[in-house]
Symmetry: C2
Subunit: 414 residues, 2 copies
């Protein structure tokens, strides 16, 4: 509930490793300055990271008039991390070294009607096998596999409780995956994956309160409050997509009416376009990706219907983001996921305009709205980061690679 | 941003004093069990509270086979705290002893047109003078005066930035008050006062994430996340009243349309009644309190228009509270402030029904919705608690009663 000394210690460990990843090589003295921690604390944490093999000593630098200072750097070959992004239409797998460089990628398409849990698990296992083989890493060097699945997730039991766009209810995903994958497994959803990616490598790094707005088929808002991920009491915080924007408005698959998602998720944007221009050639019925791509291209060419559709979408999105700003008073709002990536700057500009009309003066003045600066798939990166955080949480314990929330065939849950 | 060791220390100090207030006398051993802190930590914190004169040694109890255990209790006479609740139509002042018993009360009505800052400050000064005189406490024993003012507040500069219902913009309230009141002053708004009251003495005590929904003339949602108050980056988090419930709906005084407040604040409830029954005798035009009182009495008598009005209000409120549940996944939602107090159980029952229709299954299952258990004015109590927290923050510093956020004639801001 309230943070414990152990939470602080784990957070500080994250902070030091983040800094080393961002700037290698570096000295303990520089780390103390950058993180605001004492030199003694930094020295202890660096020792733990050395013991874990995540970083390595790489020589010395002169210090003016003093003893030479030892330098440490992240050890890219100290282990591999795998991030899995399960979406409605694909499974995307990436393998990273410890500097979070992508060493291998695998993509598996999910055809319509191919979203049964066993089918998806087969694709995940194939993708993980493929990236390990491509990268040529030994299985023992894989520190863990982070898996992102849309919807409501119980990460402790490893159950995908409700994934409407896959039509999943209470799927014991981690158990199913553990039947095929021998590495420690970590389950969570794309919202939280994107927040963790922004906290470690993106626009939320070093910020106080941040909100990561995910715009895809589904939409949600990952919350980074007080410098850490806000999960809520049962790990389901962030369901902004199912907050009401238009009472008694469009029917949502959650059973509600007028949810934010029905106006700004990819199918909602298609509906916005359809309402403005029912026969528009931009519309690719049944194909969200093609429609959003067509829209992005047409906006770039100043097509009036496309511009109007983006403006109308931004009107809804601006009201919904203003709700987040008024309620949470964040320092930064980050637009992420594939719809934000494709509609990009034109959407951002319209959203900023709409938010300026809706939000209250004081929280508005304290916030900036940006597109994610993460150049790759933030969901895979965030999922891999869950595995990295798992390895860091276990630092100093006897069996460092088998944390309470990790699951594998060789380390069954307690 | 992320919690520091010092934040943890302050939070632990709060926790120990809360426990002593809840259960006096008590031993260090019992406190360690109740708070989960080590006996050594508890002993240190108890020592600090003894040094501050907030608690006192009151004897010993036998421990089975061991040395007798020292008992401590809150020292009611160790100081006095004053809480000021500035509302649209009144100024309410309460003086508390350290067990947070009310020793004196003063009420000042604000007549229409009497809301100029200088006039309100005059009423506050008169109220504070009155309670000190009534209680017969020496001025030096007043640890501080907490002042709650509606709207957006910069608590560090002591400026009431935007109080729409008082028509205040950038009023340097703490400076004005310091011209009349010689005690340390703490400024914040009723949202945050109510959260702090619930955290210390109410339904949020010992809980993880909690939301305190304030239903008055204005409405808002105070956020207690991770066991502490979530302020946001510029201390304006909680403006749930100005999140959009009905896009393009009723005009709000904030300039927006369809804000939650326009449907569930007292004037919004009057509008709901007017739309259902334009000539209803329950309507007292221009008098919110009389209308809400009439509504409460009529509901108790099963008057169909009143029942329907409460149901319609709960429909809006349920949708808005579901947004909070879906977004934040709190353990408890507390209904507070005068409209909630007057409409009470009938409103609560309808709200629970509406939330069950709107909220997602997983966060809904983790949440309970309750009326505040605080029997007195939670705003005055919370405001007084700001002064108590101020005294506790300064524990161990050289000048304990002059914290950075306290302001008085004798202790000007640094
Ligand atoms: Zn929905
Ligand atoms: Zn408003």
């Amino acid at each position: 509930m309230k943070p414990t000394s152990r939470d602080i210690r784990t957070a500080n460990r994250y902070e030091v490793l983040r800094q080393i990843i961002a700037e290698s090589p570096t000295s303990r003295q520089e780390l103390a300055v950058a993180t605001g921690l004492s030199l003694a604390t930094v020295a202890t944490l660096v020792g733990e990271l050395l013991d874990l093999g995540l970083i390595t000593e790489v020589g010395f630098e002169d210090s003016a008039g003093g003893r030479p200072r030892g330098l440490v750097a992240v050890d890219p070959s100290g282990g591999a991390l795998i991030g899995v992004d399960i979406a409605e239409t694909y499974v995307h797998v990436e393998l990273f070294d410890l500097a979070l460089n992508v060493l291998a990628r695998a993509d598996e398409d999910l055809r319509p009607g191919e979203s049964l849990p066993e089918q998806v698990v087969g694709h995940v296992a194939a993708g993980v096998g493929s990236v390990v083989a491509q990268a040529g890493v030994e299985a023992a060097r894989v520190l863990g596999v982070g898996v992102s699945v849309p919807g409501q997730v119980d990460r402790d039991s490893g159950v995908a409780e409700y994934a409407p766009n896959l039509d999943w209810h209470d799927v014991p995903l981690l158990d199913l995956l553990a039947g095929h994958i021998a590495h420690p497994l970590y389950l969570d959803n794309p919202l939280r994956a994107c927040v963790v990616a922004e906290l470690w490598f993106g626009a939320a790094r070093g910020r106080g309160d941040a909100v990561v707005v995910n715009l895809g088929t589904g939409v949600g808002a990952g919350l980074a409050l007080g410098g850490g991920l806000h999960r809520g009491v049962s790990n389901s915080a962030g369901e902004w997509g199912h907050t009401t924007l238009v009472l008694d408005g469009r029917l949502c698959h959650c059973g509600g009416h007028g949810c934010v998602e029905t106006y700004v998720g990819a199918p909602g944007i298609m509906q916005n376009l359809r309402e403005l221009s029912p026969g528009s050639p931009l519309l690719h019925p049944g194909d969200q990706t093609a429609t959003i791509d067509a829209l992005a291209r047409a906006v770039a060419e100043d097509d009036p219907v496309a511009v109007k559709t983006v403006r109308e979408t931004a009107r809804y999105l601006g009201a919904g983001i203003s709700d987040l700003i008024n309620l949470l008073n964040p320092e930064v709002v980050v637009l992420s996921s594939w719809v934000a990536a494709r509609l990009g700057e034109p959407l951002l500009a319209e959203v900023r305009r709409a938010v300026a009309r809706h939000a209250l003066r004081r929280p508005l003045a304290a916030t900036e709205i940006v597109l994610t600066p993460i150049p790759t798939d933030p969901v895979s990166l965030g999922a891999a980061t869950f595995a990295l955080e798992g390895a860091l949480r276990s630092a100093g314990r006897r069996t460092p690679r088998r944390s309470a929330t990790a699951r594998s065939r060789t380390a069954p849950p307690s």
